[in-house]
Each structure stands twice: as structure tokens, then as C-alpha cells.
């Protein structure tokens, strides 16, 4: 076996064991920061830290389960009937790019980042629990064929993801809420979680 393949098998094995471990004991196996039932909020494990961000409503807004993205803190359906379209970039005369550009627009209050679009259906997070989201993220059938390393790179380097910490202002000029975890801490948590085997707890 090549080294890469060996590594992949190892990771998959660990993940499988972790899943079995979870199913049996309810505790994450081989996790350096195993939470106790009464978890201390100030020392959250990397998974929790990471998922606090990824379950933020404004992330989920663009990972809809249906045809329509959502917007706002209250996740109402995107105004004007904006929809996914054939390739996740809107429809012919109403594409994401009709309004959203590669950076935020402070005059209009329209947010922007490179590759602004709706996440493909395979990456639908709407209605999923944090564990389900995490499983989906690691499933190469869902995540665009990404390896764990590529998932980590996406989560920690892609401008559209990192936009969350620079979300701009709304139509009234009011700054949008940033995720409950500072960016550096989030990035560290993602990497730590992956390094420790990308273990997903039972809930």
C-alpha cells in the first residue's frame, strides 16, 4: 500500500472505531478533550468550538435543504424568491452575482465574498444536527470528493467560509453579527479536531 492509502485507511479505521466507540459508550474514543456530562463552557472541545461556528444560522442560510437559500439572523427565506438554480448560482437573470460580488458592499449592505453561491444539495445542512452536519462534511460523497485534509483547508482557508468574520453591514449600515467564536480560535479548533482524528461525538 502507498503511504497515502495507508494513512487514509488508518484514519477511516480510527473513525470507524470512534463510531463504534460512540455507539457503545456514548463517549468519543481517543479524543484528547473528552467532555464530561457537565461540560465546562470555558474549555470546550475542538469539535464543539468548530460546530458552534458551522451551525450558526448565517452559515446554514446558504446550505439549504431545498431550492431557496435563507438570509438574516432569523433565517427567513431570501427576499425576492431568490433560488438555487441549475448550478447553485441562481437563475438566468437573477444570479447570485446580480447582487453579490467578491466582497461586501457597504453602500447597499449586500454581503459578498469570492464564489458566493448556494452550497450544493449534497452539502445541505438545513435541519441537520451538528453531528449530522459533521458526518456530511466528512463524507466524500457529499463534500465534493474532498479528503479530510482538503475539508480542513476549505474550512480554515476558503474566503467564503472566513467571510463569516467579516460579514459587513446590512442595508441599515448595522454590522452583522460575527460567529460566537473568534476566527483564530475556530481555525485552531478545526485543525486540532482533525489532528486528533476528526472524531464526531454521538450528539
Amino acid at each position: 500500500m502507498t503511504r497515502n492509502r495507508l494513512a487514509t485507511v488508518f484514519v477511516l479505521l480510527v473513525m470507524t472505531l470512534a463510531v463504534f466507540g460512540l455507539a457503545k459508550s456514548g463517549l468519543p474514543a481517543a479524543a484528547p478533550f473528552a467532555p464530561t456530562p457537565a461540560a465546562d463552557q470555558s474549555v470546550a472541545d475542538p469539535f464543539t468550538t468548530m460546530m458552534k461556528v458551522l451551525t450558526h444560522q448565517r452559515c446554514v442560510n446558504c446550505h439549504p435543504a431545498g431550492d431557496r437559500p435563507m438570509q438574516g439572523e432569523d433565517s427567513h427565506y431570501h427576499n425576492f424568491g431568490v433560488r438555487r438554480g441549475p448550478d447553485n448560482h441562481g437563475v438566468a437573470a437573477l444570479q447570485c452575482l446580480s447582487c453579490h460580488q467578491r466582497e461586501n458592499n457597504d453602500y447597499s449592505g449586500v454581503p459578498g465574498a469570492p464564489e458566493w453561491s448556494v452550497a450544493p444539495l449534497s452539502m445541505a445542512w438545513e435541519g441537520l444536527s451538528r453531528v449530522e452536519i459533521a458526518h456530511s462534511m466528512l463524507n466524500s460523497a457529499n463534500n465534493g470528493g474532498r479528503s479530510l485534509a482538503e475539508v480542513v483547508k476549505h474550512l480554515t482557508e476558503h474566503e467564503l467560509v472566513l467571510w463569516a468574520w467579516n460579514p459587513g453591514v446590512d442595508a441599515d449600515g448595522v454590522p452583522r453579527e460575527v460567529p460566537p467564536v473568534p476566527k483564530a480560535e475556530y481555525i485552531a479548533a478545526v485543525k486540532a479536531w482533525a489532528a486528533a482524528g476528526a472524531v464526531i461525538p454521538a450528539e
Binding site: 427576499n79 425576492f80 424568491g81 453602500y107 442595508a171 441599515d172 449600515g173
Partner: protein, 707 residues
């Protein structure tokens, strides 16, 4: 003078304010035709003939999409004897002298100018012929006229050639007008005369006005209800890029800069101190708009409705509500002003050209003649521009910098400084007779003001009339065979500006009354169309109303109840400014949402000068009424009117518009009547009535929302 004293005495003794007088005035106001207030005798004020034989028609009425320019061109072309392509309608600047003493609104432009413009055009034609006769040395009777060319035997003169010789016009007596049946243009669906400009994006709107050396102004407008300007700290704004001057007046602060963006950015850096006596919430407003609150005025009374409806039993009652409505017209308010030492010119989208001139002159300390208002095509009026004090602000800023200044509202300012359609509350009561028809009926409506507080009507009207004509418009009961009926208007003064919104009280009042009529018909076990027909009186107004009801029902193949295709029909009818309209809607429920699939509309606007534009006004009014009835709602939160942007202020879009709108035009009189507002009446009630049949839900609040 004597008249004024007389009125004063009558007022002083309370004579004019007695209920019977008020009802009489109300009745007159409900059916009166509004006369045109302005020159109707001086053709050269209205028409200018160019050397190229083009006729410029200076319209004192403004064009805001209602098709007035086209109708006026048709009327003028027919009496002037020119091909309509020769007529170019322009907005009359005040400097031209042709000034509307009232306003453009109330669906009165064509109806009030029908006779005057025919006479003016006919007189102008005779003036041109008289001059031609002099030039050609023949008798006027020997002349013939066709398409702007005057012929005497072998010789011809165009109108353009005739005017070259004229130093001063003799204005003859008004000649006999032609028979309407001989008109070439009036009565025909002529394409709008402003079509080309509007499809190529020509710069015709107030927002498009531009002058060399023009600067950009921005005014800080309040966001909170009731906020009064106290003072401003402009220190941060003063040094910002592009800022030319900060302008501080006792009642506002603004900034002038070299670009729109520079002005907007500097405006954000101004800290204004406002005096805000109270932080209002929606619940405060809703508590005020209640039948029983405020001052009641009986606007209609026949028989003993009040006492009959006090009975213990057999009284049917229902309440209805409508919310605060925004104009949301697409072109924001604003103006371009150019003020010099002794002259001011203002380009502005306005419905009150004369009033705007007065206000600017007053503010600048000029005589009226020193101020020229050049009206522009309006990107929507709907009553929003029946007062345009922002012209004063642009003028003041222009004078302050010695250059032309353009100053416009932004969209948030539009939503928070609107002169809203007031919210309403309705209580309807009725008692049915043994035969199922109505024995007694009463409509109580509580509303914020529409007319009162508007500067286009004299303040003296308030104490005389008492009830706000705009608020109770459409609120009278139109079923004259009912033995006992009564309508009462409860007047509430709200803490934010409420005023004219297309069709005024007609939208909400008809929603309430026509929904209630449907409820009564169902209680009585009667077909709602026949129920109405059976209770309409046999006079001209009643016959015209019956005719549109029958026309709409027939054309739509009216059927009560749920149809085999799963849809249901709903019916409603109303009369506004003497124009009756009946509508049948076909509605389906899809994913728990109301879908209006088809609207059949019968309207009797009297003589239809342009049937295509009558149709267009019906189509637009129907969808605008739907928009207000199904989607739109302003609220008050934390002292502010919200929302402040399209989207959150939900309006009808393409996907909501009915795929079929079928309009039938009847002609119950031989003069043009109101068109622009009447079709807004029936639509919301018709939808609510259809929805009841489909869902069993009786929706009594706008915007209509299924549970």
C-alpha cells in the same frame, strides 16, 4: 369679502357645522365633479405652434403614469385638426403662466379638462384660421383645415407659417365644438405619447435633472416618529472629502458636496440632536385607531339605523382592519434647485406645482414670479407628491453655495418620512329582514386623516366639514334600497403624517363593506351578486352600478361556491367619484398561499377617452390593490416606522400578478369620469370573499393572511 364674512358668521354660529349640513356637504363631496382651477380661456397659454408645424401643449397636469398626457393630446388633436404625432405634450413650467390652481390627483385630470381643453383647442384652431384668412386675404368661411394645414383654393399655409406673422392674438368666442362621435382620436386606444422616451431610458424624471456645475446635497431626515430638529454637530462632516458646505437652518441640516457618494458619506457623519417626546410602538397606534376613539361624524344617514341596530337580537356584526400603507413609489422625492440673487428654478417631480412655487418663494423671501417650477415626469405619484416641501431644502442649499444643487431622499428616508395611507378599523352592523335583504346597516370607520393637514385644501374646510373626506371615501353605503343605513367616520390624529394614497379611504372601506355584504349574503342564503343587485336604487348612479355588476358577473361566468377545478370566485363592487367598478376574481390556494389567477373587471368611467389606457389603469390598480391587500404592512417599532426597504416591505411582484385580467368598459354617461383610482375599490374584498369559499377562513384584516 361679503362671502368670507358670511362664511365666518355661519361658522361662528355653528350653523355650517350642524350635522345635517355636514351630511349634505359630505354627500356632495362624494359625488361632485371637481372643476379645473386655472386658466381655461387663453389658448396661447396652452399651445405653442413651432415653425416646424409642431404643436407644443403645455400641460398644467403632470404625467405620473396615469396617461394624462396622452388623453390631453387626443382631445387637443381632434379639435385642433392636427395629426396627433404633431402634438408634443410638455409639463407647463410656472413661468409659462399655465398653472394648475389645485393639483394633479383625485382622478380628475381628464374629467376636469374635458370641456376646457376642447374649447381651448377649438378656439386655437379658429384663431389660426382667422390669422390665415387675414394673410391670404380671404373670408374665414373659405378656408378648410386638415392636419395643421389651412387651405384656400390653391394656396396653403401651415399653422407654423401662420404664427410667424402674428404679433398679438385676438381671442374669439369659443366656437361650437365638434360632435364627439366625429372625433378621430378621442375614444380610440392610441398608443401612449410618452412610450418611446420610456423604453429608451430618456432622462425625463426629476431624478434625471442635471445642470452644469451642479452639486449634490443631502439632508438629515428624522428616523423617529415625532422627532423635531433641535441642533446638529457637523464638525466631523465639514472636513470630509468632497464637502463644499454644511448648511444649517433652524429646521434642518444638510450638506452639499461634489458627488452623491460624498454627500451621503458626509450626511452620515452629522450628529443631529432631535427632540423626541415619545417612543411610539405599534400597539399605541392600534389603540388609537378604534371605532369609539376620536371624534365621530355622521356622514350618511337614512332612516333609523342606529336605533334599529341597538336591538338585543338578530344583529350581525363584524370588524375589519387595514394597516399603515407606504407609497413606495420607485422614484424618490427630491429636486434640483438653481437659485441666484433674484431667481430660483426648481426641477421637481411634484403633483402640486403652484403650491411648491409658493413655498419656495416664501422660504427664499422671493415673489412668486421670481420662482420657476419646472415639473418633470414623475416616477410614480400615488398622492405622495401632493406636498413637496423638499423643494425648499434644495433651494436653500443652492442659495447657500451659489450653484445648482440636487437633493434627493434615500429609500430609508422615503419609508420613514412618508405621508402614509392611514390604518383603519371598521365595525359593520346589520339586521336582515324576513326576506333576507338588509333592513338596517351601519358602517363605522376609524381612520387617521387623509385630507386634513394637507396644504392643498383650505384649512377652513376642517371645522366646516368635520369628517375627513379622504378618510371616509368609499365608506358610504351604496345600496340605496336599504331602508335604514348610516355611516360614521371616526377621526383620529396620528403622531406621524398620513395623507393621500391612491384612492384614499376607498381601498380599506370597500374591503370592509364588500366583505360584510358577502357575509350577509351568505347568512341570508343568497347569491352575493343578486343580493347586491336587489338592493341598489333605481337612479342613474344605481343603474350604472347595476350595469357593471351584471357585466362583470356575466363576463366572468360568475358562480358561487367552489368550482370543479378547485378554484373559487369572489365578487365585490364599489363606486368612486361617480365611476362604478365591479370585479370577479378567481382564486386558488397553493401551498397555503392565496393565488389570484384571474380578475374580471367591469368599469363605467363615462366616456373613455383612451380605452387602452383605461384598461391599463384597471390592470395596474387591481395589482396595486392586491399588493396592499395581500402583502404590504408598515409597523412601528421602538419609535420608528419599519420596514425601510423593499423586500421586508413586501409588495406584489411579477409572480403574484394574475395571469389573466379581463376588463370590460361601459359608458354610462357621455363625458369622461374618474379612472385612475376607482378600480382599487373591489379587489381586496373580492379576494377575501373567494378565500372564504375555499378555506372557510373569513379574513378581516389586511394584509390577508391564511392561518
Amino acid at each position: 369679502m361679503k362671502a368670507a364674512v358670511g362664511v365666518g358668521v355661519l361658522l361662528g354660529t355653528g350653523y355650517l357645522t350642524r350635522p345635517v349640513w355636514r351630511r349634505s356637504i359630505a354627500g356632495m363631496a362624494n359625488t361632485a365633479d371637481a372643476p379645473y382651477v386655472g386658466d381655461t380661456k387663453t389658448p396661447p397659454l396652452w399651445f405653442e405652434v413651432t415653425a416646424d408645424n409642431e404643436i407644443i401643449l403645455r400641460s398644467p397636469k403632470v404625467e405620473m403614469g396615469q396617461g394624462t398626457f396622452t388623453g390631453l393630446a387626443q382631445i387637443a388633436a381632434d379639435e385642433l385638426e392636427v395629426a396627433i404625432e404633431r402634438i408634443k405634450v410638455v409639463h407647463a413650467a410656472t413661468a409659462s403662466g399655465n398653472i394648475d390652481g389645485f393639483s394633479t390627483g383625485g382622478s380628475t385630470s381628464i374629467s376636469s379638462l374635458w370641456m376646457p381643453l376642447r374649447e381651448l383647442a377649438a378656439t386655437m384652431r379658429e384663431m389660426l384660421k382667422n390669422e390665415a384668412a387675414k394673410i391670404l386675404g380671404v373670408d374665414v368661411a373659405a378656408l378648410s383645415v386638415a392636419d395643421g394645414v389651412i387651405t384656400a383654393g390653391e394656396r396653403t399655409l401651415t399653422y407654423g407659417e401662420v404664427v410667424k406673422e402674428v404679433k398679438e392674438w385676438d381671442i374669439p368666442a369659443v366656437p361650437t365644438l365638434k360632435e364627439v362621435s366625429t372625433y378621430r382620436y378621442v375614444g380610440q386606444p392610441i398608443p401612449r405619447v410618452d412610450l418611446k422616451d420610456k423604453v429608451i431610458g430618456a432622462p425625463i424624471f426629476g431624478m434625471d435633472a442635471a445642470l452644469p456645475d451642479m452639486l449634490y446635497g443631502a439632508v438629515v431626515r428624522p428616523t423617529a416618529i415625532g422627532a423635531k430638529y433641535v441642533s446638529a454637530d457637523t464638525s466631523r462632516a465639514e472636513g470630509m472629502p468632497g464637502v463644499v458646505k454644511v448648511v444649517k437652518e433652524k429646521d434642518f441640516v444638510g450638506v452639499v458636496a461634489t458627488s452623491q457618494v460624498a454627500a451621503d458619506n458626509a450626511k452620515k457623519a452629522i450628529d443631529v440632536t432631535w427632540d423626541i417626546p415619545k417612543t411610539w410602538e405599534l400597539s399605541d397606534i392600534e389603540a388609537m385607531i378604534q371605532v369609539g376613539q376620536g371624534t365621530p361624524y355622521v356622514i350618511q344617514k337614512e332612516g333609523r339605523a342606529a336605533s334599529i341596530l341597538e336591538a338585543e337580537e338578530g344583529i350581525i356584526t363584524a370588524e375589519y382592519k387595514s394597516p399603515i400603507g407606504a407609497h413606495a413609489q420607485m422614484e424618490p422625492n427630491g429636486a434640483v434647485a438653481h437659485v441666484t440673487a433674484d431667481q430660483a428654478t426648481v426641477w421637481i417631480s411634484t403633483q402640486v406645482v403652484g403650491l411648491t412655487r409658493e413655498e419656495v418663494a416664501d422660504r427664499l423671501g422671493f415673489d412668486k414670479e421670481q420662482v420657476n417650477i419646472q415639473p418633470t415626469y414623475l416616477g410614480g405619484g400615488f398622492g405622495r407628491r401632493l406636498h413637496t416641501p423638499n423643494a425648499m431644502q434644495a433651494a436653500v442649499m443652492s442659495r447657500a453655495v451659489g450653484k445648482p444643487v440636487k437633493c434627493f431622499f434615500d429609500r430609508k428616508e422615503e419609508f420613514q418620512n412618508d405621508t402614509f395611507r392611514p390604518p383603519t378599523h371598521h365595525v359593520l352592523k346589520a339586521k336582515l329582514a324576513a326576506d333576507g335583504l338588509i333592513e338596517a346597516m351601519e358602517h363605522n370607520v376609524s381612520s387617521g386623516d387623509v385630507m386634513f393637514g394637507s396644504p392643498i385644501l383650505p384649512g377652513i374646510l376642517e371645522p366646516i366639514v368635520g369628517a375627513d373626506v379622504g378618510a371616509w371615501r368609499g365608506g358610504m353605503i351604496q345600496y340605496g334600497k336599504i331602508p335604514h343605513y348610516r355611516a360614521v367616520s371616526w377621526r383620529v390624529k396620528l403622531p406621524f403624517a398620513t395623507s393621500w394614497w391612491r384612492s384614499l379611504g376607498l381601498l380599506a372601506n370597500t374591503f370592509a363593506i364588500e366583505s360584510f355584504m358577502d357575509e350577509l349574503a351568505i347568512q341570508a342564503g343568497k347569491d352575493p351578486v343578486q343580493f347586491r343587485l336587489d338592493q341598489i336604487q333605481d337612479d342613474l348612479a344605481g343603474r350604472r352600478l347595476q350595469a357593471v355588476i351584471k357585466a362583470a358577473a356575466t363576463r366572468a361566468n360568475w358562480q358561487d361556491g367552489v368550482l370543479p377545478n378547485g378554484r373559487a370566485m369572489g365578487f365585490a363592487a364599489s363606486t368612486d367619484a361617480n365611476t362604478p367598478v365591479a370585479q370577479v376574481v378567481e382564486v386558488a390556494i397553493v401551498d397555503n398561499e392565496i393565488k389570484v389567477l384571474k380578475v374580471t373587471c367591469a368599469i363605467d368611467p363615462g366616456l373613455a377617452v383612451n380605452p387602452d389606457q383605461v384598461r391599463a389603469q384597471c390592470e395596474g390598480a387591481i395589482i396595486m390593490g392586491m399588493s396592499a391587500g395581500m402583502f404590504e404592512k408598515m409597523i412601528v417599532r421602538n419609535g420608528e416606522l419599519q420596514p425601510t426597504i423593499y423586500g421586508p416591505y413586501q409588495m406584489a411582484l411579477m409572480r403574484d400578478a394574475p395571469r389573466e385580467i379581463d376588463v370590460e368598459i361601459l359608458a354610462g354617461t357621455d363625458a369622461p369620469g374618474a379612472v385612475g383610482e376607482p378600480p382599487l375599490g373591489p379587489i381586496v374584498a373580492a379576494i377575501a370573499n373567494a378565500v372564504f369559499r375555499l378555506t372557510g377562513q373569513r379574513l378581516r384584516e389586511m394584509p390577508l393572511t391564511l392561518v
